[in-house]
Point group: D2
Chain length 334, copies 4
């Protein structure tokens, strides 16, 4: 079976997905849509597919599934429309910045029995996936604590930050999903601290650039997340998980693995620039996983509910910072 | 100048200090005291010094300085007595489990102008000291975040835990001191999470075995501490500090640095067993630093006030767990 | 410009090149030839190209270049034929097992002014290429010594070994090329030691499985190569180069970079299985480099002469083992 | 039992041994002798021992054992004298630069049944000893190849080199001993290459500064040694051993184990300066091993015969360079 794809959104992340679809023997990119015609045309030219409008894709009989890479505020509407049209949906995170909107959207997904997978790509990184596999094998025994480090090489433009929903919903949300993925248990309590240390303009925009979050499950398992919008040495992405029998960790990745020794010491090159190069394999693997689901192999995961849960943690973290207290997730999920 | 030492307490940590004094060309161990005569005699035999009572040491004209390694509940009284007798004092942490008692004790130290140094040995670990030196040189720019990992190979007996003051005062206290040391700024806010995951008996004793703490200074610098009473792979002691220009870290230490490659992969041996072997060099260096202070080189550091500050953070962490909120340090310091 | 390729040989390495050609935006796979029709058909089906005979490819006006992946004993004849037909040639190493035959073949290449590039893929590994780039930048100063480790996970079948030309021509030849690449100077002296330690059958077949070679240039630069047909922990491929100002090295690569810590120590997974996975990026990069040459960017490198030089070192190594002495390369090159 | 030591030679290495003796609970330094009275007095003052002449030590009833750290050309005479006087002898390597002289000296040792241990300190390095222990445990199966890297931070003065016996006898000799130690089998063939790359004056003095040696045993096990008198990044001391089931290695050691991450990459500090700091623990352990032998625990090892064997390999390497051929050790041992 070959899955025939429509791509909604031909921006940076759209191009990543176009390449992943093209490279997969079980997929074919049929059409691309974008508000910017040149962006869509460029992808169409490169991979030999059509340019169509979103509406046309919605009605295309030769398209089985869509990948939604449009701006966040269009995600929920598009999910609902494509769910109703019977197409399978892969949507970039987040579904929406509003918990209420996500809930109503997922209600439509449930009613239409649509297949929906959410783009928490890091679960598919081969190294992080191998960490999870060791946990699943029981190598470290019962999980006790996860430590997640995620530091961006540099902050996005303040204009982006202003409409991003803030660092917890925009950046930490990946780590919230990772914490749930690694602990394997629902998180019940959240406590966060936040500062503006990188750029005062970020504070002016009402956001933070340096945050830490502690999470706890009902049985007392814990996770801690450390985020910054600044890392001069590259894209800092590490996880470690401790259990009753030991620990398992995934270190940072670098494009070139050499070492220079001199009177100044031993130097290895910086890490990957950013997510495009760091998570190349993860992007290909998540599309492959989506295709496998469409081929009948298991349920879509991460699901819409996983998207909702991560967003709820972001909400709780914001509330924790605002009120200076530990917030129960039930408070924000209602 | 040779500093002539009296050693109070001939237990495990007393023997560590006896060895450090003996190995220092500028020090001489003159006498040892212990409630258990055999313990004192063993040290006396090994290093060729006298066994005396604490009272005799207090009145010994041939002793310049004492190292206090007796049980915690005797520390404050001994500090006051030796401060009044004009002897220099090196005291194992903590000064006392009660903030009020520490304060009154430090009042006597101030009045008598006694030299008091507190045994936060980790500041003197060559690797951690090198991290601090890089920060001081400006290598990483303005400090933003410290991440401190401290996991013990195994929990102490529950009987010990019951009178230890709890994990924050007994174990995390070292990390609180390290956070202050690395951030170089006073901590103003504390938030902690705590679980019993290792041994339910620890919970029965009213303590926790798995805790995480977030700290913040007035300017927004942050630290996070991760503690567990369990680490099957050895004594897990790591620090990393992030700043505006980069990061500096110290990895774990292991006694034997070999690697075996086989069909099962690449394996390095476990870490040091525990603090006695991990911090051998640190114990020698802290005694050398104390001797240097007595020789006129700078002020005693870590000071009694450093001991008080770390204890206040432990107090605040306990309060944070109990009340489910971020606690200002000013609340507990009064 | 798009380079139109014919692929000669549809075996294991042929499939690697087919994939690299397909993945290159500047290349198109037009036809494949193989003595085994099913092998050719499989590639044709996967990449949508024709199956043609070698003769048909030789006469195809729609083919600009060929990649020769047929058995070694056909290489020289095919190079000559395609050189005369005016097509560009990428040939897997070695050109031939006989120095004389390689020389006569290269004579035809020179006369026809054909473009010929030889498949020493390791030069294109991003990590090894980065080592070379550091040397070229002058980071380590004048090069003094190269250390090359190359150990296969397991020996090929003895039937393969019997017609391979022996370990020096089959396996070490890559390291001979790497030594020339890293030292940047022609090698003049060779001394080798060889044993049968892995499998006595290899000895019965007249070959060795464990060899070491020392090389020297006219100015005294040195290299040492260490080879074995056995490495339980994966495909061991390391280089280090020392110069007047320091050293630069490339460590082994592994597909999954995690670490498990337990009472048994710290364990990382084994290395890549073998060259197909270890050198994936290198195979793509060497085809890209060949295409760049056809687009007018520089000379083909590694050239036919590089292929000859590496084979001469293999010849000299064999002679060194046989005669128990250091052999001057001039002796075998004549 | 306490072993009472006389120390012959109060130079750099003499001070290292004095400290090791002082730090050993089972040893006492009774007297020191040196042609330079101030050197001897300095050690005597520091450790509270006598200054005596070598003759006086020879006749001292209160001395059980001597450590010989005098210039190389006195070693054999002193060994013979002290062997005849019935004292146990620890002698720094080499016994002599002449194979014949070493043989005649060892004849006296055998006749007098004297205890003689030779100072190949590296066998006692905890990391190298752990490598050997893994081999002995069978972790890597039957040993096949050892790779020994030994690079000095800088060349000694040419005046020293001129009377050192040359790099093979002065520097590589440690690696020859290590190769025998690791292979666990007598070496039968030697092939060496040598260049002058660091300092032309070394060549003028008739020596080399950059050498490589291949070794082989009767059963075909191999070792390769790589030496240079130059390493800008510190004292480069590594071993790796490959066997039928896997490999075991010991990496370089550094005094401070931190890492700085910045836009320039990840940098660790240089290695130890030189052997005094790199092998501190090894020097203490070898004296402890000597004391254990005197206490009845096993035979002295490395023995005088080990010293002879390593020197013979140096001799063979020199001959191999001179004659451009593989040399059988039997040729030089006669």
């Amino acid at each position: 079976m070959t899955v025939r794809f429509g791509l909604l959104g031909a921006g940076r992340i759209g191009r990543v997905h176009a390449k992943a679809i093209h490279g997969d023997a079980d997929a074919r990119l049929v059409a691309v849509a974008d508000a910017m015609p040149e962006a869509a045309s460029a992808i169409a030219a490169q991979y030999g597919c059509d340019v169509r409008s979103i509406d046309a894709i919605l009605q295309s009989a030769d398209i089985d599934a869509v990948v939604i890479c449009t701006p966040t505020d269009t995600h929920a509407d598009l999910i609902e429309a494509f769910a109703r049209s019977g197409k399978a949906i892969f949507c970039e995170k987040p579904i929406d910045l509003s918990l209420a909107r996500v809930k109503s959207c997922l209600q439509v997904v449930r009613e239409t029995k649509a297949v929906l997978m959410v783009g928490f790509n890091r679960r598919f990184d081969p190294h992080f996936a191998a960490v999870k596999a060791e946990i699943a094998k029981g190598t470290i025994g019962a999980v006790e604590m996860a430590v997640i480090t995620s530091r961006d090489p540099g902050a996005p433009p303040v204009s982006y930050i202003a409409r991003s929903g803030g660092i917890f919903r925009d950046m930490t949300i990946h780590d919230f999903d990772m914490a749930r993925f690694l602990l394997g248990e629902e998180i019940t309590e959240v406590s966060a601290m936040a500062s503006v240390l990188v750029d005062p303009e970020i504070g002016v925009a009402g956001d933070f650039d340096s945050v830490q979050v502690m999470l706890k499950t009902a049985t007392g398992k814990q996770a801690v997340i450390s985020n910054s919008r600044r890392a001069t040495y590259g894209y800092d992405q590490r996880i470690e998980v401790h259990g009753a029998l030991g620990a398992v960790s995934a270190e940072n990745q670098r494009p070139v693995m050499i070492e220079v020794a001199s009177a100044a010491g031993y130097t290895r090159p910086p890490l990957h620039d950013f997510f495009m190069t760091r998570y190349t394999e993860a992007y290909a693997a998540e599309i492959a996983a989506f295709i496998a689901v469409l081929g009948g192999k298991g349920e879509a995961s991460p699901s819409g509910e996983d998207g909702l849960a991560a967003l709820a943690l972001a909400e709780a973290a914001l509330k924790s910072v605002a009120e200076g207290r530990t917030v129960r997730v039930a408070e924000v999920l209602g």
